[in-house]
Structure formats: C-alpha cells, structure tokens
Amino acid sequence: MLENSDFYRPNTKEELTEILRQTRGKIVAGCTDVLPRIRRGQAPVGCLVDISHVNDLRFIREENGQIQIGALTTHADLVASQFIQAAAPGLAQAAASIGSPQTRNRGTLGGNLANASPAADTAPPLLVLDAGVMLNKDGKQRSVPLQDFFRGPGQTVLTSGEYIEHVFFNRPTGQWGMAFFKLGKRNGMAISVVSAAAFLALGPDGRIKTARVALGSAAPIPLRSRSAEEFLTGKTPNTEAFREAGQAVLQDISPIDDVRSTAEYRRHAAGIAVERVLKMAWQQAARRKA
C-alpha cells in the first residue's frame, strides 16, 4: 500500500502506474493551467499526482520513421529541438507562440493536450501531422488518433487513472511543407483569437497530393477542416486555391463570442489564417527538392 497522502511524487512510469491505480488522482506537471484555476477556486485540489519528475516521459525520438514526443516534453524543449524544427516546423512554431519563456519552461505537451482547451496551440500542428496519442492506464497502452482525442472544451477521451505517455506521428517525406499561424491580441503571452495549421505534400506533377488543415479557437475542440482538405486535394497550389480553401473552412467551424473575440470576427479571421498557413506551407514545400 502507498503511504496515505494527497500529493504523490513518482519518479518512474512504474511508480506512476501504481499510484494512479490506487488513487485515481489528478495528474499535474507544469501547473501553468491548474495553479491559476486552483487559486480562482475553479479546480478542486483533491489528490494530486505530480509527474514533473517522471523523466522517462520527457523525450523526443524517432523509431522507424515515427516521431515520438513524451508527454512531459516542455514547450521550451520543442522550441529548442533542431530535430523538431526540421521534422515538424509548424509544431516548433506553435510551441514558440505559447505564453512566455517562463511558461514554456514549465508547460508540457501532454498538459497542453490533456487540458483540452479549444485554443491549445500544439493541437492544430499535431492534427495536420495526423498525430496519435499513446495513453496508458494500469500499465496497458492504447493509442487514439488526436482527432478523436478531444471531446469538448476541457474534455478528452482520457478515463480516470489514465495518462498520456507520448504523442506520435510519421516523419513527413517527399516534397512537403507545414506552417502554423496564431492570431492573438498581442504578440507576447497571447491566447489565440484563432489559430491555424496546414500541411501540404506535392505530387510529382506539382499538384497537391495531401492537404491537411486544422484550426484552433474556432470550435469547441481543435479540429481538422475536411471541406478545405477535400477542396485542395488534386489542385494546383496557388493563391486563388488557398483563398477558396480559406472560405471552405467556414463550413466546418462553429466559433463563439467570448472574452477574446466574437464569432463573426473569428469566421473572418479563420479564412485568412488558413490562407496564410497554406501559402507558407506551399512555399516551404517548393523550397524542398522533390
């Protein structure tokens, strides 16, 4: 039996599994979201399981062409990683846009996803990388596509006692490009009014072979825009196509009025954000040798 407590500090995945099995406690890591909420009385303190010392959840690695990023990887780790900058530049861009250096040094990738904010900045780039999330409960793994992971604001498919081990996606190959853009009220420390990510892969004929588009702060969850993706597939990449794709996303999003912006402005800005990320992704793809 564990020592009777309401604050646990595992150092390994095995200890974490055992503590969660017995306590079903709430996981905390960077605390950048949970501490302000506790302080405002919006989150109960309850039984906490601090995973900030579980170092085997903090890694960036590649196995057989699959990139895996541990849940405890900080946003600062992603920004500093030359590997991520090369293999998933839009993810590095998104991580760099989060909070301040102080926040990026504490906030983690797993926390950004598990927190399930519609504005989670790492979600759109991971969605366009077609990423999956490896979960663990009682020592048993299950993998969930990221697009099925979010259920609503603050809600995910994570069940009691389950934690995120890592995020994974295939390393892009061929002639591809990706980008992330976030519209905030200011440049630093901004939560997005709307955000967008795009991934484009070009075929040998120069046409768009694969298009993936995702948005944040535009619906109850970060989501892919199938309308924009279907519109783009097979098209010749050009600014006109990107502009039309930006309009196609309006069929898929359902933004709201809130403290940061209005639904009307978000619909306007989402189209422009998508147009921009598509252009950036295309320019990056064009620079890459086929």
């Binding site: 604050f7 905390v28 303190v45 601090d50 440049n187 630093g188």
Partner: protein
C-alpha cells in the same frame, strides 16, 4: 492537505521545509523563507513575470510551481544574485541605464536577462524582446531595460 517534506537548494543553500504541497514556490519563498525579491503582481496567473526565479537555471514563474514539485530542485532568487554586496554586472547595467522606475518588475527582469545572457552572450533586440516577453513593466520603461541588457552583454564580455 497533508503536509510533505521538501528538500531543495535555495541560492545554493540546502533548504528543507515541511508544508502543504500545493502552496506555490512564490508563497514559500516570500512567507516562509522571507525572500521577498520575487513579487506577486498579477495574482498568480503567470502573466507578469514579477515572480521570476531560476529553477535549475531556467526562468520560471514561481507562482506556477507547486512547492511539492521542488524536491531535489535548485532555485535561484534575486537575493542570491549579487556577490558579497557587489552587484552583478546585469544589476549595474540596469542602474546605469536608468532601467528602473518603481522597481517592482526589476528582480524578474534581471533574472530573465541573466537566463538569456547565459545562453546567448550577444543577443540582438529581437532576442532580448522575446526573452523578456513574459516580464511586464507597468511603468513602460522597456526601451531602457533593453538598453541595459545590451550594456550588460558588453560588460559580461569585458569581464567587469
């Protein structure tokens, strides 16, 4: 909440306290250890950077760290920064550039600057602005603060 024991290094000194683990590092620094250089200016939202400390060398907001997470960690505050009453070159640069008005943001600004200069001894304006983006000055004296970091970079290189 059940109290826990936390063993950490504070400004190089081994420190052991027994307290509620969900209290913030900022609260413990100020109220238990009487190190009041780190300030609470935004109400624990992680917005202002006035509570910046170096945690294992990296700048973090001490209002966003639970004290229970500090086991085995090293924290450096502004109190541990000057050497034998001799200000650090970064502090001297802030004074010489007049980069202080009310002084509330200054400990955080100095520590964030220290973390930047440790990584990048010769940063340009853009790098300085990015590194200090999480430190708000409500006297709006950013121009002189940036000048101070440039001056400190020069001073650190010259070994003053």
């Amino acid at each position: 909440m059940t109290k826990v024991q936390v063993n950490m290094s504070v400004n190089g000194l081994p420190t052991s306290i027994v307290t509620e683990p969900s209290r913030t590092l900022l609260e413990v620094l100020r109220e238990d250890l009487h190190l009041t250089g780190a300030k609470d200016a935004c109400g624990g939202e992680g917005e202002c950077g006035a509570c910046t400390v170096l945690l294992n060398g990296d700048p973090v907001n001490s209002c966003m760290v639970m004290i229970g997470q500090m086991e085995g960690c090293a924290v450096e505050t502004i109190e541990g920064f000057s050497n034998e009453n001799r200000p650090d070159p970064i502090q001297t640069a802030f004074i010489e550039e007049g980069a202080i008005q009310c002084g509330y943001c200054t400990p955080g600004m100095v520590l964030a600057s220290k973390a930047l200069l440790d990584q990048n001894p010769n940063p340009d304006d853009e790098r300085i602005r990015t590194a200090l983006a999480g430190n708000l000055c409500r006297c709006t004296g950013y121009t002189k603060i940036i000048a101070a970091v440039h001056r400190a970079a020069g001073d650190l290189k010259n070994g003053n």
